[in-house]
């Protein structure tokens, strides 16, 4: 799942009309050193299924890390593209149902500009 979402690298000859820049395109620009183990998790699946009707995290995360999978009835987490901003632990999930820690030392996002 994460491979096709993340590994599309943009090239310079593309049409960069702003409205065409998807989050996947944006994340393709940023450098990541993904850890083998996720640093994000959903605390209680049932809250996502039964309580959270708007699936807030799928909107609030600026990296679209969270996606609602209809068939599995659960949130999938593409933690490899996490920008480590902390939105999901500070109200981005209004039910406080996401456990976030930082990736281990040396892993995660690496801003070249910042």
């Amino acid at each position: 799942m994460s491979d096709d979402r993340r590994n599309r690298l943009p090239s310079d000859d593309r049409d960069w009309t702003p409205s065409k820049l998807s989050v996947t395109d944006k994340l393709g620009l940023t450098k990541f050193k993904p850890d083998a183990e996720p640093h994000l998790s959903v605390k209680d699946k049932e809250v996502c299924q039964a309580t959270c009707r708007r699936k807030y995290c799928t909107h609030t995360c600026p990296a679209q890390v969270y996606r609602w999978e209809e068939e599995e009835e659960s949130i999938s987490i593409a933690y490899e593209g996490c920008l480590e901003c902390g939105t999901c632990r500070s109200g981005g999930c209004p039910y406080d149902n996401i456990e976030m820690s930082y990736p281990r030392g040396g892993y995660g996002v690496q801003y070249r500009f910042g």
Binding site: P10, D12, W16, P18, S19, L21, V23, D25, K26, L27, L29, T30, K31, K33, R54, Y56, H59, T60, P62, A63, Q64, L83, E84, C85, G86, T87, R89, S90, G91, G92, P94, S101, Y102, P103, R104, G105, G106, G108, V109, Q110, Y111, R112, F113, G114
Partner: protein, 440 residues
Amino acid sequence: MSDITNIPITTDRFDAIIVGAGPAGLSAACTLADGGARVAVIERGDWPGSKNMMGGLVFSQPTAQVAPEFWKKAPLERHITRREMWLTTGESVVRAAYESTDFGAEPYNSFSVFRSRFDKWLAGEARAKGAIIITETLVEDLLMEGDRVVGVRTGRPEGDLEADVVILCEGVNPFLAEKAGLSKGVKPESLALAVKEVLALPREKLEDRFNLDEGNGAAYEVIGEITGGIPGTGFIYTNRDTVSIGVGVILKDMVDQTAEAYALLERFKAQPQVQRLIHGASPREYAAHLIPEGGYRGMPRLHGNGVLIAGDAAGMVNAVFTEGANLALLSGKMAAETVLRAMECGSFEAITLDHYRQQLEKSIIMKDLKTFQDVTPFLSSHPHFFTMYPELASAAVKELLTVDSLSKADKMHLIIKLVRSQRPARKLMKDLYDGWRTFS
């Protein structure tokens, strides 16, 4: 890639351990090392700066207090000679601009920078003074003896490090300050989520489009339709051969409206007056960051036994004037000065470290944070400041500038009628009064 030696962790004891190599942590490290303290900075990124992000401008005067004449050696993008404020409606812009040749000469006023490069440089300065910079190392917990912080637990094997005092400069997500019981976490109404893109433009083209002399820079803050009625701003900063463009919105309001920060940024970029500036520029990086905008009321406890908090972790941001890094630098310096004083007394009790809070109270940091302490809740409860007023401003200016058969007196009358239809006089006066109270 990194010019910082990655020193393996030993069982050495330090006078002070600093968590986080951002502006607060590196400022504290420079000050402590200058004072002869044995100090280590622990940074989770590959290099100091690799996790850091801001708009961003650094201001000359506070930065020079930590690194004198930094403009002669630090990696800077452009010195800012023009600042603009835009009120937008989607089609139109009302602008206010300030430009000065003063800002283009030493000691300058502000510079656009990239944190990832600037902080790497500042870490080099700290290291040259004798601070030890340990990278690729996450501090997972604090070592406690009762209610006293006595060191840190890192993610490395046998990675416990002890020190007389720990300065938390861990940034906006206060994981460790929460563990130490100093912070109760930051609430979404006190946070802004900012997303930013760095767009490459050839230098000449950039200077032409932004109407800049060689080496000079411009910084734009934009309020209005672009944030979709959510309290927030857009910003555009010119760098050497790139443009930083972003949007920041109050997190609580963004969540309530299930708005998407990246969609707001795309909308901002598509605004015709913005599009003209960035057209054809190729994106280089996308970044996101939270900004603690709770001001004075949103601050955690700033110290405990053996521990101090500085920078974003302490909520030190002046949202109105988009100042954060300079408050981080100054607070890091003050925390370090308190530690040096505590080393002289040989006591790291909360009562000794309270000196930090006292110094902060006397400083520009707390004075400014107190002045603007009600701004963020005020803007959340007055979203029409971001929609209706920019629209009214635009409509009024348009009416005055449009030449038709109406006399200017009739036009003034029309404008007053329009304003009244949108906002009754009583409410308008209240907005003015509340606004004045909040922003002064």
